[in-house]
Assembly symmetry: D3
Homo-oligomer: 239 residues x 6
């Protein structure tokens, strides 16, 4: 029995609230149960130095947690003077995943920054961030196209992500914090709309996992991602 | 005529949403029109080194802005590796203002951190932060008292804040961003429930201001703060 | 009775020593009693990136304290690897106050940095800095005009500052450290030569202050600033 | 055809040189072809603050690259003032992987730091680091046991790692830099001596990868890791 | 002919002003011509962690330059967020040199920090700092002895320093900035009262120097240091 | 008797291994007994901003120690977030010494960075670094000349360095760590091929040293450097 009484293959209630804030070109509050992340897409008409003058665009991500998103207060990274290893690792993952969605040549010499800020954490913040950031990116690109600033859609893939893990011996989908703390194995999957993989990151927290367990987790995750992608598309229709 | 078509002495619509997030001992989303700040109060059972062993508590504040709270994206302070001067100045002001609300001896050897994170900015984020943080602090203290961890209420004052300024020659209350950008004078007032001052901070942005203008701004602010304090109390009743 | 036996409305002995060091375009040692601050004005023929190519100038300030300017040694900010919040707040105040003195268009594409370094601290270092920096700025501008590098004087206002506060229930002028430590209210005023306000910053350190107390402090400060401005002008004549 | 003319399932020449430097409790130069990493294990008789007084030990890792380990000089992280995201990510991976090898209770209140410093880079530095660090750890533990400081062996698993990837459409084992740069998919596997997984990290660099490709990579990697583990054991016998 | 018209073996006018500021236990303004450095000695009743509980004291130094001590403004190290290599090198030299003056066992578990802050620079700031810091240290120790906090004098040597160099082919004593900039060789000597060496640091700026030149510089420096030591003692008598 | 049983004027076994790594334009492992330093020379086709457009080149150095190069593990500077004072001092010394070898005009608008990374430390790492870096620099320049990128050889001097010191009252050459720890005087000499001095840095660690001791150390060092220079030339012939 999962602490939340969900079935092993059951996602938490999902919600994508578009237009959550007003200034960003894309602004989505994504909720996976009690996990809430604000994902904004900011379009700027310049690219980082290493790309200048090549006519290509750039997509990058930054991740943060409000200090009291967690059950114990976490020290503010701005006050500590640096982003921690976990933060850097997560924002690198989000950036890579979203770049896999787009053709950077078609984007032109622009950059889009996806800021994923965790308002409340209950497990799965990185996968929620990726899933929400894709919707924010889609909105930002649609805005550029509507204003005629882009002729051709640079987005060629729908990206979503979910966590899976082995909890008390059973593979389960979309771990919340209570499960995540004690899971033997923790895996994050990022997939595209055709069910292919962008990222697979699995870690044995306690005992190593077998090939059979890995296979079961991959199945469970693939099914979950299909549901998340349906929710993304439904949210985009609902404007 | 103000850009928002408000009267000179008219506040923006105010809202204090308590319990906005679940982990913090106090969690309030404060809205002054389009300005939205999440204020959380985190109670910890220890004090900073300089206070240890004295039986007194501590109240402090931290302030941050999500990168896309603003119309142009602002660089993330955690990524830049330090908090800017404006941030430090604001969080020092919030901390001082809230310490004026409480008797730190009665708080006992505990600290309360007020995190004020701007979700969306439209002027007046520091005064909204103070007004919201007081409600979050009140909720956190009430929680400690309800659990019997505090016998006597350490809060002896109700604190609220507002901005006033001279916009196109006229003193106005509660400036939004459109007014703030071009105001000749900008003043932040922090007051207690008896109409006395905790902080007065006025700056001539363009032309210096006269004693008469100063007096007019102080009157306007005092009236505004009375309304904000009424809204704070109404929100606290509404749980 | 004040610790220094001064009357409530009495300034400490003032001294502005021009040409205190030889390299800077303006170099003034300002003394308010035992408080001594070296204020230098450095002229450079370029402006910060955000102003380039606009034909306008820039005036900014930096503030520091020698480690043993204080009764207990203060850690060196360069060694700690960052400037503290108090330092940043003070240097922002000095910079804003001095910019109010000048027409930056007339200054041309140059920047002037006012470095205020506290040699010895006995209360009121930020207001002494502002008062001394104005004299250093005046000297630097006069030098540019004498060399024909400026045709028209960009300085349109005389700026001075003083602290006032409520000490043992009585409003007093120009607090020294012994008073500052225990004052109930502490206020810094920056004013121009016509008695108008550039900055008003008042803080209740202990009990909040009433409108009547605020009025008394403003009167006291205005009178003190007139005397400081007379001393500034006398020093400028004395070269 | 691979640039190195290796077969798809062929490792580069492997070498583990134990006792490469004299001060460390374990010191191994690991070579995977032209990739050379010095892995040292340092035993210290204390643990980080969060573990003090619990009677448990700690294993952690740090990773670095000499500036000219790469074909173009890379800026020195010590001079830049911080470790980059890639470095932090890699050292977190090495630390997690090695902790999976040991029972930290049996280690007692000691910490072992595995420093992996890349002398020369030609792809696969993180997996070489893990494979070499395990040998250094084994040597350090054997030393503690030989001196009677440990009664029972805290190491319960043999850990090795390898990279696999899809290069020009073909799954290949142990990518060198020429392959790594252009690989469509890049995957790092960390496994124990019974063929179970400690970490699986796969990234689609260009096109997403299918479940079939993933399966092929997992097979290839598992076979490669068996060979690396045989080489680790041979090196340990050879003292 | 030297730019200052001094003879090759002539020091600049020397002045040691004791009691220059009031808070420090020792406070000396040292002037070598236009070079002016404020040296303060601060006594604190604790030692750094690595010395705790050993009953021994510690002497250390910090060095800084006011931004406009130099002919062009130098960026403030506190604002840049770190001390430069030159600063660290100089303060390490000052600290080592002063530790050579004292018996740290006799000092007891106290530390003395010598802050050397350059008010105006005209060459030779590091040697002026050492010479001035010794007087400040002497004053601080005399104060401790006068108050009965030290029974036995921990200072067993008189320390002074001077620069020598080869300027236009001729060895000269006590280089000013005009000489320092173009000197072929620059050497700093730190010596005790019996004419033995504490530090010898010679650098060929342009052409390498011969053993004969080295010998000439050592002679010149030794004579200069005898005069500086006489001036130190005269200043100490003059209180 | 020296701990290593060497005669007072005996160097440790020297070895210069050229081509130690493959990417750098010059790559030399230098060994002075158990001290081993990897010195690489990296050529880049640009110079630092302060030299741009002048047609001159630049030579600089960076120094680092692997954490377990020492008998106790030293904290990694990249992880601590800054290079220590000792590191900065050493790399400034190496850079100055190597610049004395070359005519920067003849080098053209290129920079050469000499990275000296200590693999294993047993005293004398800075002098070994200088001696090894000169060989790496020579190799890098020879490569540029062989490719026709330089017409004229910019290297006009052969540079080598050695440490000397007073150990148990006797001047000795090339101190190892056991001697270095307890030496009364420690001196580093950098000399050119004609026996002239580039740098002389002597420090009294315990008792001050006399002019006679200084002379003896200079003699001893000069003889040692002649042997090191012979070994440098032999290594360069041996390719």
């Amino acid at each position: 029995m999962r602490p939340s009484e969900r079935r092993a293959d059951e996602l938490r209630p999902l919600r994508f609230t578009r237009g959550y804030t007003r200034h960003a070109e894309g602004s989505v509050l994504v909720e996976f149960g009690e996990t809430r992340v604000l994902c904004t897409a900011s379009v700027e008409g310049r690219v980082p130095p290493f790309l200048r003058g090549q006519g290509r665009g750039w997509i990058t991500a930054e991740y943060g947690m409000l200090p009291r998103a967690t059950s114990e207060r976490t020290a503010r990274e701005a006050a500590r003077g640096k982003q921690g290893g976990r933060t850097l690792e997560i924002q690198r993952l989000i950036g890579r995943s979203l770049r896999a969605a787009a053709n950077l040549e078609l984007l032109g010499e622009r950059s889009i920054t996806l800021d994923c800020d965790v308002i409340q954490a209950d497990g799965g913040t990185r996968t929620a961030s990726i899933s929400g950031a894709w919707v924010a990116l889609r909105d930002a690109i649609d805005g550029l196209m509507a204003k005629g600033q882009l002729k051709q859609d640079p987005i060629h893939a729908q990206i979503a992500a979910v966590s899976v893990g082995v909890y008390q011996g059973t593979p389960v989908l979309d771990l919340d914090y209570a499960e995540d703390c004690t899971a033997e194995t923790d895996m994050n999957l990022v997939m595209d709309g055709s069910g292919r993989f962008i990222e697979v990151q699995g870690t044995a927290e306690g005992t190593p996992f077998s090939r059979e367990e890995l296979d079961a987790l991959l199945e469970l995750g693939a099914a979950g991602i299909r549901d998340i992608q349906a929710a993304q598309l439904a949210a985009l229709k609902g404007s």
